[in-house]
C-alpha cells in the first residue's frame, strides 16, 4: 500500500523539483543563442565578474544585442557571434533593438 501511495505522489514531487523552462532563475552559462524565433536563449543568465559572454545568431535574420548600461550595442548578423566581458557586478538588461519584446538579462555576480 505504501508503495502505491509513493508511486502516486512521486510525479508531484518530481514536478516540484524539476527545472522549469520559462521562469527559472538565471541560468549559469556564458553563452546565449538566438534561434529562428526572436528570442534570446536562455533569457536570463548568470556569470561572474570578468566572464566573457558570447551571443551567437543562429536565426533567420540579423538581430542586435543592445545594452543601455554598459554601453554595448552591436548588430549581430546571421551566423555571427558577438562578445562582451562584464567588469562590474550587477543586473544588466538588454534587448534587440529591431524586435520589440526580444529581451534578456545578464546577472553578474562578484
Amino acid at each position: 500500500m505504501r508503495v502505491l501511495l509513493a508511486a502516486l505522489l512521486l510525479p508531484l514531487v518530481l514536478a516540484g523539483c524539476s527545472t522549469p523552462i520559462e521562469n527559472a532563475g538565471p541560468v549559469a552559462t556564458n553563452h546565449v543563442n538566438i534561434p529562428d524565433e526572436w528570442v534570446f536563449e536562455p533569457r536570463e543568465i548568470q556569470v561572474k565578474v570578468g566572464t566573457n559572454v558570447t551571443w551567437t545568431n543562429n536565426g533567420k535574420t540579423f538581430h542586435s544585442v543592445t545594452f543601455l548600461d554598459p554601453p554595448f550595442d552591436e548588430d549581430i548578423e546571421r551566423n555571427q557571434t558577438v562578445a562582451y566581458t562584464f567588469t562590474e557586478p550587477g543586473t544588466f538588461d538588454y534587448t534587440c533593438k529591431y524586435h520589440p519584446g526580444m529581451d534578456g538579462r545578464v546577472v553578474v555576480t562578484a
Binding site: G16, N23, F62, L68, D93, Y94, T95, K97, Y98, D103
Partner: protein
C-alpha cells in the same frame, strides 16, 4: 485491502511538503501587464515592454528621436564619398523592423519602421537628403517577418523602384540611382496592401537640394499622417511627425523675422486629402519644391496622398500661433501644433 487512514494522511502530508519544499526557490515572476503606458515623448528613448511570467525590460532604442529632434534632422548619408565633379556618392544603410510606437500620449501601437544605424526606431523614418546629381545608394535590409521594400518618389530605373522585388525576413536589397529631380519627395514600403504597410509607419521624406542651394532658412520636416489603431480602415489619430498633439504640447520656438522653410509631406492613409493652415501669417507654397520660381502665396493648402511641397514664411509679430489641418476633424484628433514666436 484497507488503507490505514493515519498512514495515508501522513504520506500525503509528507508528499505535499516535499512538493512545496522542492518548489520553493527564488523565482522571478513578472506582472500580468503586457502593455504599459508609453512614457511621454520628451523621454524619447525608453518604452516599457512587458513579458508574461518574466521581468519587464526597458525597451532600449538608443537611436530614437523625439519629434522635436526629428523636426530639424537631415540625414545626408551613413557614408559619403565626394567625387571630382562636385557630386557625392551617398550610402545609406536602412533597416526595416517592428517597433512599438507611441502615437498619442499614453497610447502604444505596434508599428513598422525604417531605421539607420544612428537614427530610427520611430515613424516617420529618417529624412534622407542629397544634392541634385548625387548618387544615392541604399543598402536596405529587412528584419521583419513580413516582406517589405523601399519605393522612392523620384526619377530612376524600373528595377530600382522597390515595387517588384520584395525583401523577406533577413534579406537585403541595394537601390542605386541618381538624385533627381530636386525638390521634396518621399519614400515608403510598397508591399501590398500598401494601406497597411504605409499606415503602420513605413514612410519617410527624401529631400533633393537643387544644385544651387536654397536661401538660408530654419528648415523643418513635417510629415502628416494618421494612425488607424483599431485597424478598421479609418484613422483614430492624426499627427504631424508621428505623435498626436505633440507640437501643441511642445510649441516650436521661432523668432520674429526668422525665415522658416518647411518640407511638408502628406502620407495620410484612408482620407482623401490633408491640409495645412498657418495662423496669422501667409507663406509661399512651392508644390513638390521642383520649381524655384513658381509659388502660391496663401495660408492654407491641401495635399492629396503622396503630395508634398515647400512652405516659406517669416513671422512679423510675436505671439502664439496654431498651425493645423484645416480639415478640422483632423485638427481635433491630434494634427495641431503651436509656433511660439518671440521677439
Amino acid at each position: 485491502m484497507t488503507v490505514n487512514r493515519r498512514s495515508f494522511l501522513k504520506a500525503a502530508a509528507a508528499g505535499g511538503a516535499v512538493v512545496a519544499a522542492g518548489a520553493i526557490a527564488p523565482r522571478v515572476f513578472g506582472s500580468e501587464h503586457t502593455g504599459h503606458n508609453g512614457t511621454s515623448a520628451a523621454g524619447g528613448a525608453h518604452m516599457h515592454g512587458g513579458h508574461p511570467g518574466g521581468f519587464a525590460v526597458e525597451r532600449q532604442q538608443p537611436r530614437a528621436m523625439t519629434p522635436m529632434e526629428y523636426l530639424t534632422h537631415f540625414h545626408w548619408g551613413d557614408k559619403v564619398t565626394q567625387r571630382a565633379d562636385g557630386t557625392a556618392l551617398r550610402e545609406y544603410t536602412i533597416t526595416s523592423h517592428p517597433q512599438t510606437l507611441e502615437v498619442a500620449k499614453g497610447v502604444t501601437f505596434p508599428g513598422w519602421v525604417f531605421s539607420t544605424p544612428t537614427i530610427g526606431g520611430m515613424a516617420p523614418g529618417p529624412t534622407l537628403r542629397a544634392r541634385e546629381g548625387d548618387t544615392i545608394r541604399i543598402v536596405y535590409r529587412n528584419t521583419d517577418k513580413h516582406p517589405h521594400s523601399m519605393h522612392f518618389h523620384g526619377i530612376h530605373p524600373g528595377n530600382q523602384d522597390g515595387v517588384f522585388e520584395l525583401v523577406p525576413e533577413g534579406g537585403e536589397q541595394v537601390y542605386e540611382f541618381t538624385a533627381e529631380p530636386f525638390g521634396v519627395h518621399l519614400y515608403h514600403c510598397h508591399t501590398l496592401p500598401i494601406t497597411k504597410h504605409l499606415s503602420k509607419g513605413l514612410f519617410g521624406t527624401l529631400i533633393i537640394d537643387p544644385a544651387e542651394p536654397r536661401e538660408q532658412a530654419t528648415e523643418m520636416v513635417m510629415m502628416m499622417n494618421g494612425w488607424d489603431v483599431d485597424f478598421d480602415g479609418a484613422n483614430e489619430f492624426y499627427t504631424v511627425n508621428g505623435i498626436a498633439n505633440y507640437y501643441n504640447e511642445h510649441p516650436i520656438r521661432l523668432k520674429v523675422g526668422e525665415k522658416v522653410r518647411i518640407y511638408l509631406v502628406n502620407v495620410t492613409e484612408f482620407d482623401l486629402i490633408n491640409s495645412f493652415h498657418l495662423h496669422a501669417n501667409f507663406f509661399k507654397y512651392y508644390p513638390t519644391g521642383t520649381r524655384l520660381d513658381n509659388w502660391e502665396f496663401t495660408d492654407t493648402i491641401i495635399q492629396g496622398q503622396g503630395q508634398r511641397g515647400i512652405l516659406e514664411f517669416a513671422y512679423k509679430h510675436p505671439g502664439k500661433y496654431f498651425f493645423h489641418a484645416h480639415v478640422n476633424e483632423f485638427a481635433e484628433l491630434g494634427w495641431v501644433g503651436l509656433f511660439e514666436v518671440v521677439p
